[in-house]
């Protein structure tokens, strides 16, 4: 699954660790999700939506 995490982080000037802290997960998780190695569960995807204050489908994109 593709995502816009890198761009969204850059817009907010957040490091992967900053985002991980906001989500309550490890930096490795953010890195794996951002690079497409791991697709998050639906609850975690909703957390991303809450943190970025935007709908899930504007963060995660269909392949």
């Amino acid at each position: 699954m593709k995502n816009r995490l890198r761009v969204l982080r850059a817009e907010r000037e957040w490091s992967q660790q900053d985002l991980a802290d906001r989500l309550g997960v490890s930096r490795q998780s953010v890195n794996a999700i951002e690079t497409g190695k791991y697709d998050p569960s639906l609850p975690l995807a909703f957390k991303f939506a809450d943190v970025f204050e935007m709908p899930i489908e504007e963060i995660f994109l269909r392949d």
Binding site: G24, V25, S26, Q28, S29, N31, A32, I33, T35, K37, Y38, P40, S41, L44
Partner: protein, 137 residues
């Protein structure tokens, strides 16, 4: 519950289990080999090191259950599956080779040791495929 809490509990439990394991080895060796303890007492003494090794599996299960980070949970489970595959494959193949006298006997307590080494292989596999090891050992 945060990632750090689960890992700290894991390290504490592992340290306690390993301390009891090492102490029980010395005590069992001293009482059974040197002092001649026999019967049910010897069975109980000889069982303690093995039960400490069994505790490793319980500790890892608790780590998987208590870890709140779903990605790290995935890495731990992958490590455990790979370690289990290596150890059980090794035990099966070696067992049959032993049966037909093609290889020397290996004491059964070595297979959990192979399993622990297998988690290291699982960590390397995680590193190569997911970019991070997970590192549950």
């Amino acid at each position: 519950m945060t990632t750090g809490h689960a890992k700290r509990r894991y390290h504490l439990r592992m340290a306690v289990a390993m301390a009891i394991y090492i102490a029980s080895l010395f005590v069992a060796d001293w009482l059974i080999e040197d002092r001649g303890v026999t019967g049910i007492a010897a069975v109980m003494l000889a069982s303690v090191p093995g039960l400490c090794v069994a505790a490793i599996f319980w500790i890892l299960a608790r780590l998987v259950i208590e870890e709140s980070d779903e990605f790290l949970r995935l890495l731990y489970i992958r490590q455990i599956i790979i370690a289990t595959g290596i150890a059980l494959t090794g035990a099966s193949v070696w067992g049959f080779l032993e049966l037909y006298m093609l290889v020397p006997h290996i004491d059964a307590y070595w297979w959990p040791v192979i399993w622990c080494l297998g988690t290291g292989v699982g960590g390397i596999y995680n590193k190569l495929t997911m970019g991070t090891s997970g590192n549950c050992t």
